[in-house]
């Protein structure tokens, strides 16, 4: 498992970043909230497209580290692609599930998240962070 300079293990968080609807943007924003803020010392992300294109460094990263995928829609492209790459898939979250739990939020904007989209991303990020903590506890 990849470790930082202090020897702490890292979890790879991979969003689908789907571009057609707000849910893809929410998957991306939630991932950044985790990797740049909530659990910045124990997580990182990578380029999904680069992984699928067969980049050796990316392949090694997902095969030797625990991965959490974050998908916008039920097609779960991030999960599918990490599985295809032989990644160590340890968790899979979906924005549609966060939506079901936060039905008062109506995210619409895709390019730049609106306030409802941002709130949903934060709620999802908290779930990802908890999943990360669970994985690191069990290492």
């Amino acid at each position: 498992m990849k470790m930082d300079a202090s020897g702490q293990k890292k979890v790879i968080v991979i969003p689908c970043s789907g571009i057609g609807k707000a849910f893809g943007s929410i998957s991306r924003d939630a991932t950044y909230e985790v990797t740049e803020n909530l659990r910045k010392d124990t997580t990182q992300t990578l380029c999904l497209a680069l992984l699928v294109s067969g980049d050796e460094d990316s392949l090694q990263l997902v095969r030797h580290n625990k991965c959490i995928t974050v998908d916008g829609c039920p097609l779960q492209c991030a999960e599918k692609n990490v599985k295809l790459a032989g990644g160590d898939l340890a968790g899979s979250l979906r924005v549609v599930d966060a939506y079901k739990e936060n039905r008062h939020l109506k995210p619409k904007s895709v390019t730049f998240l609106d306030p409802d989209g941002q709130k949903m991303a934060l709620a999802l990020a908290e779930k990802i962070a908890k999943k990360v903590d669970g994985l690191l506890r069990n290492q």
Binding site: P15, G18, I19, T45, L48, A49, V52, C77, N81, V110
Partner: protein, 138 residues
């Protein structure tokens, strides 16, 4: 290229998560779709395309595409060529911006003014390419 079909150009963005140029490619694509050429373009969800989405791959095979990549690894272009055919045009953010290089240090999550200006510049370039593609289609 089918003649009787509606003229649309598919824009495929890499949306790379690991560097700011990936976010710029994404925002530029959305600006073209939403503001600059809303009636002439559609986007193709790259992760779905990569995961084997038939509709996405068929569209990219039957219609002209423009790929928008953040860096010289050109994942969107490579994937389009591999699964559907050569794009009509391919644009790389770091090329458009001259002395830029792919960086993890930039504001990947929320573009700052400099990066947003870059996204607008890339979007203008994409829109110009859309016009060129449509002109050749006439």
């Amino acid at each position: 290229m089918p003649e009787a079909q509606e003229k649309k150009v598919g824009i495929i963005s890499c949306s790379g998560e690991d560097c700011v140029e990936g976010t710029i490619s994404r925002v530029a694509t959305r600006l073209v779709l939403g503001k600059l050429r809303p009636n002439e373009t559609v986007t193709i969800c790259l992760p779905l395309f990569l995961a084997g989405g038939k509709e996405e791959r068929d569209f990219a095979r039957d219609y002209p595409t423009i790929t928008v990549d953040g860096c010289d690894k050109m994942c969107a272009k490579v994937a389009t060529e591999r699964y559907s055919g050569k794009p009509a045009s391919s644009i790389v953010v770091t090329d458009v911006m001259g002395n830029w290089y792919c960086s993890r240090l930039g504001p990947r999550r929320k573009l700052d003014e400099k990066s947003l200006a870059a996204a607008r510049k890339v979007a203008e370039k994409v829109a110009h390419e859309v016009d060129e593609v449509l002109e050749r289609w006439m």
